[in-house]
Amino acid sequence: MSQIPTEYYLILSAAIFVIGALGVLVRRNVLIIFMCVEMMLNAVNLSLIALALQFGQLTGQVVVFFVMAVAAAEVAVGLAIVMAYVRHRDTLNIDEINLLQG
């Protein structure tokens, strides 16, 4: 049984999430933006597990299991998209990826 209060874990999860959000907004490299998105997902996983322990239910851990599966699928497809784009345009700068004019 953990004697550490749950909100310590929640604060750590929020800190990692905020750092990941800052990384998504500040960095230019597409791969690093992708890494920060995965870090944000990981922070939410930590929050879910901490709350699953506090409420004594297993739902949080099962949801984390599914989040990890979806994150793995997302990374595979996302990196395939990045590789296809780099092969086409030869740039990793997010400011220059504007084929859709957005």
Partner: protein
């Protein structure tokens, strides 16, 4: 048990009766390494350093899962996140050579976005800090000893969550097909 003995007890804090135990020191050390890894991902100049900092972050979060009695999820975290996703990132970085460096040019919109992100982050952390001070959330309550084990998760996964389980299998198949199709070289059109 040695882990539960308090080293000393601070009773003069007006807000929170803080009790320094070995568990708390261990948690603080892990939290410091996790935040250092997170900052390393955001602030590194080279993408390989960012990927390695991400690996450190994932490994420390897996240890935190073990302290939260989620042993199965911790091992899955090591296998899937640290062992597959970070390896995928490293493969792609080394295949296409992520050689863009720096934190970004200082355009005005990027400055505004970073300021908005910092303000939102401070608000989020302040809200959680208020919850700590007001004492709204209790400590981790009683849980059964075998809660995070493989058997408990398997029981939940194959009875209550069977439909999401099957749909996840279909999702992984679709993702695999999509990744293979996207990564093919474009074929030349043929006459005839």
């Amino acid at each position: 048990m040695l882990a539960g003995l308090p080293i000393y007890q601070v009773t003069t804090l007006p807000i929170y009766n803080l009790e320094i135990t070995m568990q708390l020191l261990f948690f603080l050390a892990l939290a410091a390494v996790a935040i250092a890894g997170a900052l390393g991902v955001v602030l590194s100049k080279k993408p390989v350093y960012s990927a390695l900092s991400l690996l450190v972050n994932f490994a420390v979060v897996a240890v935190l899962f073990i302290t939260l009695q989620a042993q199965f999820v911790a091992v899955v975290q090591i296998i899937v996140y640290a062992g597959a996703i970070v390896v995928l990132f490293l493969f792609v970085i080394m295949l296409i050579g992520g050689d863009l460096t720096g934190v970004g040019n200082r355009t005005r919109m990027r400055n505004v976005a970073s300021i908005v992100a910092v303000v939102a982050g401070v608000l989020l952390l302040a809200g959680l800090g208020y919850a700590v001070i007001a004492g709204q959330m209790a400590s981790a309550s009683g849980s059964t000893p075998g809660q995070g084990s493989v058997q408990a998760i398997a029981e939940a996964l194959f009875t209550d969550y069977l439909l999401p389980f099957e749909l996840t299998a279909v999702l992984l198949l679709v993702a695999m097909i999509g990744a293979v199709v996207l990564a093919r070289k474009p074929e030349e059109s043929r006459n005839g």
